[in-house]
């Protein structure tokens, strides 16, 4: 029983496609779990927004005298400790799973707008393993379009795709989970893990047994493709007259055990050659063997970060 012509049917179909997509776009703009549209900012906990984007947006209106750059590990060189130990206002540009290339792009964007006095960069051997494009959760980690030169419409278009799973996850975690497992603070650039801190405080033995299980036995080797990005970071900071501090970040002994030792030593030597002085905390016995200073074998905690900063700025502390 036909009640239409093929042409009319096709138009009706196209209208239905357009209507559903328009509804989805509206919903996406309003729900915005990654907080890139900024119309609603209800996602405040337990679901990672696009923190790289939010950091850059924040730095459009605020500035600092010092910046901490690097992977998720540098999150634990806290702004508070940094300011207390150096007297410089600070912003933390931690980039979870970030590569030196991302750090370079963010610095280029930043130094075109601001003139900080100091940049502290954490160098991680194991981030060098990352040479594949981000797939899962890439919307949480896509860089600010102004840092990469991606057209704004292209960036926004990607976030207009309605992702049912992520949206539901964000809603569930914000409104149906009481404990706070993750929170991002756009004012400092830091993320925090309150539930983990509570678990550590309340039942350390159980936490330790669950988290420090050992690492995969294979010996992993780094890719060399990031060396040039570090070299460019050094040159960029020098060009802008910014004091650069480099540290090999603290590693847990279980993580160290997964490294290919000769390759790791060679990487360190290359970094020293590129960066000049690099303060080495990667095998500090006071940190690497102390489980309490780590969340798990990959990430050290703020206490360890404070120890690093204290040692790093000891000279300044001792100065009259």
């Amino acid at each position: 029983m036909n009640s239409s012509t093929p042409g009319k049917h096709l138009l009706q179909m196209a209208a239905a496609v357009a209507a559903v997509i328009a509804l989805m776009i509206l919903a996406t703009l309003l729900i915005d779990p990654y907080r890139v549209f900024g119309i609603t900012n209800w996602n405040q906990k337990n679901f990672m927004p696009n923190s790289r984007y939010l950091q850059m947006e924040a730095l459009k209106t605020k500035s600092a005298e010092a910046y901490v750059i690097g992977t998720s590990r540098v999150n634990y060189y806290t702004v508070k400790d940094f300011q207390e130990l150096t007297g410089l206002t600070c912003y933390n540009l931690t980039t979870p799973n970030g590569t030196p290339h991302e750090n370079l792009l963010e610095l280029q964007w930043l130094l075109a707008r601001q003139k900080p006095k100091m940049v502290l960069m954490g160098l991680d051997y194991d981030i060098q393993f990352l040479n594949t494009p981000l797939t899962e959760s890439y919307l949480q980690k896509w860089m600010h379009p102004e840092t990469t030169g991606t057209p704004l419409w292209r960036f926004r278009l990607e976030y207009l795709r309605f992702d049912v799973e992520s949206t539901w996850l964000a809603i569930k975690r914000n409104f149906f989970e009481r404990k706070v497992t993750y929170r991002f603070d756009v004012e400092t650039g830091h993320y925090s893990l309150p539930k983990r801190d509570d678990d550590i405080r309340d039942n350390w033995a159980a936490y330790e047994a669950a988290q420090f299980q050992g690492q995969p036995p294979e010996k992993r080797r780094a890719h060399r493709e990031h060396d040039d990005d570090v070299r460019q970071i050094v040159a960029l900071l020098k060009k802008h007259g910014v004091e650069a501090r480099f540290v090999f970040t603290p590693m847990h002994r279980l993580t160290l055990a997964t490294f290919d030792r000769p390759d790791y030593e060679a990487w360190k030597a290359r970094m020293r050659e590129i960066c000049g002085t690099v303060a080495d905390f990667s095998e500090d016995p006071a940190i690497m063997n102390e489980n309490r200073l780590f969340y798990e074998p990959v990430h050290f905690r703020a206490e360890a970060g404070r120890m690093v900063l204290e040692k790093l700025f000891a000279k300044e502390l001792k100065a009259p």
């Binding site: 029983m1 036909n2 009640s3 239409s4 012509t5 093929p6 042409g7 049917h9 096709l10 009706q12 179909m13 196209a14 209208a15 239905a16 496609v17 209507a19 559903v20 997509i21 989805m24 990607e158 795709r161 309605f162």
Partner: protein, 482 residues
């Protein structure tokens, strides 16, 4: 190029349709045919351009052999056929089975050094049947363009249906063929969208649960019985929705070019016996195996023992056709065994005058048999398969690494209801003549029969929009690996 990718949906297919329409309107149909050959090679080359040479070479050599066979008689013709079979199987053996052969029967380069060309099993077997039919005098002549388009036509090239030359080449000569019209495009698009939705909105939902269970089994540790059954049922639904979706899409695309392919799926899980299952699952492969393996081996013409042997050999080869792994051979062997039992049961019933099993019982037994065979089809190794089978009979331990959640149970129930109670897309589209074969009326209510009505435009439009939104995560079809 995947059917469920933006480049195919919004560029390749519309451009192919538009150019075909323009060429057939303002030029000769042969021009449209030539364009579709180039488009199909481009479609194939999108995955790996270097293998276009392989496909094109295979087509040219087989066509040439076909011409030589047509020009010869008797023993010479048979010799050319033998050469054709050796060349085709040699190509297949090198690319698909070399690693398998070396691992099991000798030495050679490791398997990973040879990249399996997409669709090699499909286009090789299609061409062997062509040569075999020339040998038996069923083909008198064919134009080169007809032949190339028959083998390479992009909707069926990668994962079937396995189209027979007798089914497709004569269509090229029909007056409407390759002259796209809105009247053909609209139902074709509707069928495509129903298939796309089956793939993107249904099949892909089951994949994570099946993957979880098989990955756990691959580590050597079992899973609780319920999880094991849940996981294998999830895989059964995933592969059905995935592969039947591809077939629907292929048929839908062909319809937009005013061509028809054979039906490939017809509610296989509604089968009340394993014999019935193979008349409903991957029907074009079943027909191919029947016509070119089972019947030439004697079929049922030489007594029971020979028939059962032919059946088993056919299914073993059918298993090997799917992949170079003993688990596929075993899968085929299991189906062969079930078919043998099924045939013996039928004979015994006939002899004793017993009534058939109640249909629901037959369906349940068949489904369980098929689930058991899927374990070997999906597992990467026998140890993985045995671990999962052990779990299915309660030997997997009580630990629950991934508890079944409420909504996943809802999903499973909905999926099973669709395959056991719902109409197939072929039945939904029955009035539009979606395939070469006529589709039997199984009493599908009129409200579930597609028609040129606004409600179907809105349903298909909404489904298409839902698929578009998920296009950023396209997943390949399971049958691409074969």
């Amino acid at each position: 190029m995947l059917f469920n990718s933006s480049i195919f949906l919004f560029v390749f297919w519309p451009v192919a349709l538009l150019v075909t329409w323009a060429l057939s309107k303002w030029s000769k149909v042969a021009a449209a045919q030539g364009f579709l050959v180039l488009a199909s090679l481009f479609f194939y080359g999108w995955w790996n351009p270097s293998y276009v040479v392989l496909l094109a070479g295979s087509i040219v050599v087989n066509y040439g052999l076909g011409c030589l066979m047509l020009a010869s008689r008797g023993g010479t013709r048979t010799a050319w056929l033998a050469l054709g079979i050796v060349l085709n199987l040699g190509l297949l053996a090198y690319y698909k089975y070399w690693g398998f052969l070396c691992t099991n029967f000798g030495s050679g380069p490791p398997m990973e050094t040879i990249v399996l060309p997409l669709a090699i099993s499909f286009f090789t077997f299609t061409q062997i049947t062509y040569l075999a039919d020339i040998r038996s005098g069923k083909i008198e002549s064919n134009g080169f363009l007809d032949y190339v388009l028959f083998v390479a036509f992009f909707p069926h090239l990668i994962a079937g249906p396995i189209v027979h030359h007798r089914q497709l080449i004569p269509q090229f000569r029909e007056p409407d063929a390759l002259r796209p019209t809105l009247a053909g495009i609209v139902p074709g698009l509707a069928l495509f969208i129903l298939g796309l939705s089956k793939k993107m909105l249904v099949a892909d939902l089951f994949a994570p649960y099946a993957d979880q269970v098989f990955q756990q089994a691959a580590t050597g540790s079992g899973v609780p019985m319920l999880q094991a059954w849940y996981g294998i049922a999830a895989y059964a639904l995933q592969i059905y929705f995935d592969f039947s979706a591809y077939s629907d899409m292929a048929l839908g695309i062909a319809m937009t070019f005013q061509l028809r392919f054979p039906v490939n799926f017809f509610s296989p899980y509604k089968a009340a016996s394993v014999i019935d299952f193979w008349r409903r699952w991957h029907m074009t492969l079943s027909q191919f195996l029947r016509d070119y393996l089972y019947i030439p081996m004697g079929g049922s013409r030489h007594g029971l023992p020979r028939m059962l042997a032919a059946l088993m050999i056919t299914m073993l080869i059918g298993g090997l056709w799917h992949g170079a792994n003993w688990t596929f051979v075993f899968w085929g062997g299991l189906h062969g065994l079930f078919l043998i039992v099924n045939h013996l049961w039928l004979r015994w019933r006939k002899k004793t005058g017993r009534a058939p099993l109640p249909r629901p019982l037959g369906m349940a037994i068949t489904f369980v048999c098929v689930l058991v065979t899927w374990v070997f089809f999906r597992a990467g190794s026998f140890s993985e398969a045995w671990t999962l089978l052990g779990s299915m009979i309660g030997l997997g331990g009580g630990a629950s690494p991934f508890p079944i959640k409420f909504w996943t149970v809802v999903l499973m129930v909905a999926g099973l209801a669709m395959v056991f109670r719902g109409p197939t897309t072929m039945q939904i589209m029955r009035h539009t003549r979606p395939a070469i074969d006529s589709i039997e009326d199984d009493g599908t209510p009129p409200r579930l029969s597609w028609a040129l009505e606004p409600r179907w435009a809105y349903v298909c439009g909404a489904l298409f929009a839902a698929c578009i939104i998920r296009l950023n995560q396209p997943s390949p079809f399971i049958y691409f690996q074969f």
